[in-house]
Structure formats: C-alpha cells, structure tokens
C-alpha cells in the first residue's frame, strides 16, 4: 500500500491546482461578463490582417 503515499498527495495536489486556478480566474474578473466572453472569442481584432 506504499503506492498510496504517492497517489493521495497527487490527487490532492491536482484538486488544489484546480481550486487555485478557479480562485485566480475569479479574482481576474473572468466571471464578470459571461455573455461578453462567449462572443469575444469570435472576434478577429487580435489577428493582423493577412497581406494581400
């Protein structure tokens, strides 16, 4: 059962990573404008116009 010594901390670490990522995204204001975020992904304003 020594494998538990690796598996349990890894499981917890993964969970914690997810939690930290969520709290970070919450602080960064990513949940403030859900409707806007849904459409912003379609905009091309960050892509330089292709040379003609």
């Amino acid at each position: 059962m020594t494998i538990l010594l690796f598996l349990v901390p890894i499981a917890l670490l993964l969970g914690l990573t997810g939690l930290v990522a969520f709290v970070w995204s919450l602080r960064a204001g990513q949940y403030d404008d859900l409707d806007g975020a849904a459409t912003r992904v379609l905009f091309d304003d960050d892509v330089a116009a292709p040379p003609k």
Binding site: M1, A11, L19, V23, Y31, D32, D33, G36, T39
Partner: protein, 756 residues
C-alpha cells in the same frame, strides 16, 4: 450657447493617477457592438482602456491623469448611435457583487473538498466490503478530517453567520438546523475516527454545504442581474440637468449633483429634473406623472413644480428645493410611511416551513437519543444515531425547495420584462384576487401618441414623422414616433415656437402650428377629448394630427384575459372622472373611480383588504406611491416616478401591459411548484427519518438520499421556466425606455407653440 458637461463627479482616481469612469450604454443590441465601441474609443487620444461589459451593458473607460475629457467619449458614442450615461455603482450593487464573489469562493472550496473527501470515502466504503486494513481506513479518515474541517470552517461561514444572527435575535431560521447538522456531523466524525470506527460522515457534511451554496449562489446571481438592469435603467432615465452657474454659463450635469438652491434651465420638451419653484418663464406643464391629471397646467414665476413633469411650451428657470419638502410631497410621504409599515410583517412560505421544521427535527433527534438510551443502548450509540437523524433529515431539500423555484421564476420573469424588487413578490403575486389599475401612464402609454394616424396615407405620415424628428417638442415627438426608424431630413430648419420646415423632393413641407403651416381655420375635428393638434402641409396636401394619451396597445386583451382568469378589476385614477370613464368604457371595466386623491386610493385598497381581498395595485405616479405600498403586492411600469418604483414590488419594462398578466401567471405556477417541492421534502423525510431512527442509515445511504432529494427538488423547480415562450427580451424592452430624443440628437432645442 456654450455648454460644458461636468462628469467629474463620476470619475474615480486610483493611486497611480489612472482615472476611470463607468457608463451605462443603451443601444448595444448585438455582439458586434462590443468591437465597434471599444475600437472607436481606443482611437481617442489618451484613452488607456475601454472595456465593454456585454452582460450588463456597461462600459469602463480608463485613462491617465488629466489628458482626457470623458465627455469626448460620450460625444463619440452619441455620434455612433449609442446613449452613454455616467454611472455610479450603487452601494447595494457593489455589495451584491462582493457577496456573490464571496459565495462563489466558498462554493469552490466546498466543491474541491467534497470531491476529494468523496474520493477517500468511496475507497473506505469499497474497502469495508472487502479487505481494507483498519490502519489504512484510519489514515483515510484522518486525511478526510484534514481536508473537511478547514474547508467546512471556510465554506460554511454564510450559514454559520446567518444562524448566529438569528439566534441572537432569539429566532430560528433554516440556517440553524443546517449549521447544527454540519457541526455535529463533523464533530461526531472526528470522535468516531479517533475511536477507529468503520464509518465517518465528513463527506455528508461537505456535500450538504456544497449543494446549499449552489442554491445560495444562483439566487444571489439572479438578484445581481436584476439589480444591474434596474441600475442601468435608472441611470439612462435620469437625464442631464442644465445648471445655470453664477456667471450665467450653463453646465450639464447629472441630476443627482444638483443641490438645493441651484438654478436649472428647463427647455420645452424636457422633463423637469428637480423639485423646485419657477423663478422665470411661462409655460404649460404635463403633470400626469404626479397627479394622474392629463390636462396641462399653465405655470409662471412662483409656481411649484415636481421632478418628472414634462415642460411643454416655454423655457423655464427653476430653483431646486431640498428633497421631500412641499405640501404635496409631505402628504405622500406621510401616507407612504403608514402603508409601508403594515407590509413588512409578511411571512414567506420558506420561513413558515422552517419555523415548523427546525423544532420538529431537533425534538425528533433528542427523542431518538433518549429513546435508544432508555431501551439499553450505550450513550455513544444513542448519540451517533441521533446525529444520523439530524444529518438525514437533511435540510437540503427543504432549504432548496423554495429558493430554487425563486431563482427559476425570477429568471423567467426577467426574460419577459418583469424585474422583481422584493423577496416575497412571487408568493404575494400568486395570492392576488383583485387588480386595481391606475389609468394615466399605466393603462395608457406614458407619452402621448397620434390618435388619428389611420386617416392619412402612410407616405404622408412618413414624411410628417421624419420632419417632426428634427424637433424636441413633445407633440413633435409623438408624431415622430409614427415612423420609429425614419431619419430626419437634411436641411430641416426649426423655427422657434412655430414648427419645422424642409424641402422634401423639391416640395416645401411644414409641420407645426396652424399659422406656421398656413392652415388657420382648418377644421380640427372633435375637440372633446383633450387632444392637442399638430398641423402638416406638403404642397397642396395637408393634415391635422390629434395627439393624446392612448391606451397601451394590448390593454384591452390583457384586461379581458385577466378577467377570464377570475380577477376582479378596478380603475382608480387621479385624472378627471370623464377621462377615467372613457378609459373604463374602452376596456369594459365597470368598477372605476376618477379624481381620486392619494388618500382615496389607499382607502380603497384598505377597504378591499378589510373585505378579505388581496389587491394587486398597478400604478406609476407620485400619487400612486402610497397605494402601491398599501396594496398586498404592486407593480409599476418602468416609466414610473422613482418614488413609485421604490414602493412597488416589481417593475415591468416595455410598452405593453402583457407583463402584468405574465407575472401573475408565472407566480401562480411558481407557488404550485413551491408547494410541490415542500411536499417532496416532507415525503422524503417521512421515509428517511424512520430509517435513521431505527439506526439503519450508513454514510453511503445518507449521501445518496441527500443528493437524490436535492436533485428532485431542483429539477421540479426548473419547470417554472417551462412555457417561457414569450421572450420580449429585457434588453430590447429596456432600450425602449431610453431618454426621449436619443435618436433626434441633432434636433433643435426649441419647440413650437402647437395649438392645444
């Protein structure tokens, strides 16, 4: 006339010198507007940041110190066809947003902990069936405790705080049994773990927190969304007031910044922004929003005027008065206080349920412990079983039963254009049996409309409407409304106090007073209905448009529909008896009363209540505010006076009356679902509690029962969203209520003296 716009009051400065201002933007109808607005604003030199929030139609503009006047951004937006209004986050809204983020953080922690503890618990359950060693089991239990205890201490705070608050007040609310259940489950699990027991309840406690937080967060998010829309509407409604400074210059500033004693200029076609007294100028004003009276009142220096009234004829200088003074307002205020205090005693379904639930559960648990002990169990076993009872009675289903329906219902109402103010509005609406309407602005449209458009050809009306678009006069605006998309003619010229003239396809067209159009002595038709007239001439063609208050387009159908549902319907209006009788006749309502004072309205509602009725008051004016507060429940159109909106339980958007019927129908459905949910919770408990009392409940059964009952209750609540076919679209409805003349921004500032 040089005009400064003073937005400085809305600018917020951060420590590093960056400035920021928030705007509520009207006219954002599609996602493309986001790019359009942001890119246009970023081109303005000095703008560091322009970020549109599409969810709540707001714009944040940031720049470095002193190198930008935000008015330039407003002007840029105006040219693009958007109305931007500076915006100060209401304290309540900031607090709501903060609370929602707090709940979301708690929810995240609870979710993380519940998942990880469940991972360990499932291993233990599986191991108990097979070959887990006691040492491994103990280690898993201690690990669970290590995760669960801090997580519950963090994520359970919303419940603990609320329960503590209730206990301090000597009351019981739903959070008391919840908190007690969580704390006992965790405490007992620790004790059991220390005693090398086979079972622990860490996962149940965390799952309870997680489910309940989901419910809380969704409720908070819904409330926040409603408040954001209400805040935008309020910002867009309150127009800029023109303050006359001591040196005679004029500064445009938000109405909220006008102090008592300031002098403001009110041009014809504008609403008077503040309560005050006229110091110069002669005019006629439409006070229907204050008194319900549709006939206009002539005023001159010395006259008292109220905020929200429409100035028709001439420019006025008004000295602002401190808020809430003036005999009429005092009277309203006094009536309002009396009416509002009677209202706060309402007890909602959820509170009534929890009042019964908490003592019953605690007593059952206590009796279980005593019972087992008396019949020979050890003290330890008796307590373990009693705690299992507390956990399994699971306030989950009960605590979610009503809020889940609330969330779905307010979402449905939101989409059909009804914004709820109070927490119990839905339940109160469901109980209504009598509906009392105000007339002016409620059954009728808040703005006058052309009554005889059908008499003329559509081409003629189109031309007249586009011509009228160039003026801000109220009558011209009514005419312009006949062609909502029509652009003003190039080269249209407005003559002060007379009308607008333009060359249309080589023919001179005029709209305005009879003399201006050369139509002196033209027949104006039946004058009996208080209609105002506006004249139009194009070459040899001429027309006389009669402008008057008209009923909302669907008023008759909605009233008929409500009557078919068995509601008693009455009209009680501050307008003259004749005008009220006409409206009542058109809608087929027998019970009506005109020329009612605010006190009369309250008295009528009290009489209905005394006779055992539950009246719904629908009204919009200052004079309706006390009646709105006195009624069992009340609705206001979004065009209503601020004081009326504050007194109402819900506000409906748009130009139609249909949201009233819709609100009642959705509320009835919601109440049925709430009752069903409570029944489900009771039935669940009727099955689970005997099992728990007999000591048969293992943590696995507790976990299954808890998530099962919560899911059933939530799924049932989702049915309140069913049949939400009528998507009037709150955004679209809201934009109808933009400040008048937003499109006709290039219009002249003066009106014409149309014959009244």
């Amino acid at each position: 006339m040089l005009m400064d716009v003073d937005l400085s009051g809305f600018v917020r400065e951060s420590e590093d010198g960056a400035r920021r201002i928030d705007f509520a933007v009207d006219g954002m109808t599609c996602a493309a507007c986001i790019v359009e607005i942001e890119q246009a604003l970023k081109k303005i030199p000095g703008v560091a940041q322009a970020r549109v929030n599409y969810s709540n139609s707001r714009l944040a503009l940031g720049w470095k110190a002193d190198d930008l006047d935000p008015a330039a951004a407003v002007e840029q937006l105006r040219q693009m066809g958007y109305v931007a209004h500076p915006f100060e986050l209401a304290e309540a809204e900031t607090r709501d947003a903060e609370h929602a983020r707090y709940l979301l953080r708690c929810l995240a922690v609870a979710g993380f902990a519940a998942m990880n503890v469940m991972l360990l618990s499932v291993s233990v359950w599986a191991g108990n069936m097979s070959d887990i060693t006691p040492e491994t089991r103990d280690m898993f239990h201690w690990l669970s405790a290590l995760i669960a205890l801090p997580a519950a201490a963090f994520a359970g705070r919303p419940f603990f705080a609320s329960a503590l608050g209730a206990l301090r007040r000597g009351a019981l609310n739903m959070d008391v049994p919840i908190s007690l259940g969580i704390i006992l489950a965790l405490g007992m699990s620790v004790v059991e773990t220390a005693g090398h027991a086979r079972n622990a309840y860490f996962d149940s406690a965390l799952m309870l927190i997680f489910f309940l937080l989901c419910g809380r967060y969704l409720e908070q998010a819904m409330r926040q969304r409603t408040r954001a829309v209400a805040g935008n509407i309020a910002a867009l409604r309150s127009p800029l007031a023109a303050r006359i400074n001591h040196d005679g210059s004029i500064t445009q500033m938000p109405t909220a910044r006008i102090a008592a004693g300031d002098v403001v200029l009110v041009r014809p076609g504008e609403r008077i922004p503040v309560d005050g007294a006229v110091i110069a100028g002669q005019s006629e004003i439409d006070e229907s929003i204050v008194t319900g009276e549709t006939a206009r009142r002539a005023i001159g220096p010395g006259a008292d005027v109220y905020a929200g009234t429409m100035n028709f004829a001439g420019a006025l200088r008004v000295r602002a008065r401190s808020v809430g003074s003036g005999s009429f307002l005092d009277e309203i205020e006094r009536l309002l206080e009396g009416a509002a205090s009677a209202r706060s005693r309402y007890v909602g379904l959820a509170e009534r349920a929890s009042r019964i639930y908490a003592p019953v559960v605690h007593l059952t648990a206590l009796m279980t412990a005593i019972g087992w002990f008396v019949f020979g169990a050890t003290l330890h076993d008796s307590i373990v079983i009693a705690i299992a009872v507390l956990i399994v009675t699971c306030p989950c289903a009960l605590a979610l039963a009503v809020p889940a329906v609330h969330v779905v219902t307010s979402g449905t109402l939101f989409r059909s254009g009804v914004l709820l103010n109070g927490p119990h509005s839905v339940e109160r609406l469901a109980e209504v049996d009598t509906i009392v309407f105000d007339k002016t602005g409620t059954l009728t449209l808040p703005e006058p409309r052309v009554a005889n458009a059908a008499e003329y050809s559509s081409d003629l009306i189109e031309t007249a409407a586009r011509l009228a678009r160039s003026s801000r006069h109220p009558l011209a605006r009514a005419l312009a409304h006949e062609s909502p998309a029509g652009a003003p003619f190039d080269g249209a010229r407005e003559e002060v106090g007379a009308g607008v003239v333009a060359l249309v396809d080589g023919v001179e067209a005029r709209v305005g007073s009879a003399r201006f159009c050369g139509l002196d002595g033209a027949p104006v038709g039946d004058r009996a209905d208080d209609a105002s007239t506006i004249f139009f001439r194009r070459g040899a063609e001429s027309a006389v448009f009669r402008v008057r208050q008209t009923l909302r387009a669907d008023a008759a159908t909605v009233v008929a529909e409500l009557r078919a549902h068995g509601y008693a319907i009455e009209i009680i209006s501050g307008d003259s008896g004749r005008a009220t009788a006409a409206a009542a006749a058109a809608l087929g309502i027998e019970a009506w009363r005109g020329a009612a004072t605010p006190a009369d309205k309250v008295a009528r509602l009290e009489a209905i209540k005394a006779a055992g009725g539950k009246p719904l008051m629908v009204g919009d004016g200052f004079n309706d505010a006390p009646a709105l507060a006195a009624a069992h429940v009340s609705l206001s159109p979004v065009s209503a006076a601020d004081i009326a909106q504050a007194a109402a339980d819900a506000v409906f958007l748009g130009e139609r009356l249909a949201p009233v019927a819709r609100a009642l129908a959705v509320s009835r459905l919601a109440r049925r679902l709430m009752r069903q949910n409570l029944t489900i919770a009771v039935v669940y408990n009727a099955i689970a509690v005997p099992l728990a009392i007999s000591g048969l409940v293992t943590p696995l059964i507790a976990a299954l029962a808890m998530s099962g009952s919560s899911l059933i209750v939530t799924l049932n609540a989702l049915r309140a969203g069913g049949g939400a076919s009528e998507r009037s679209g709150s955004q679209a409805a809201a934009s109808q209520n933009a400040p008048e003349g937003s499109r006709s921004s290039a219009a002249g500032r003066t009106g014409f003296g149309a014959a009244a």
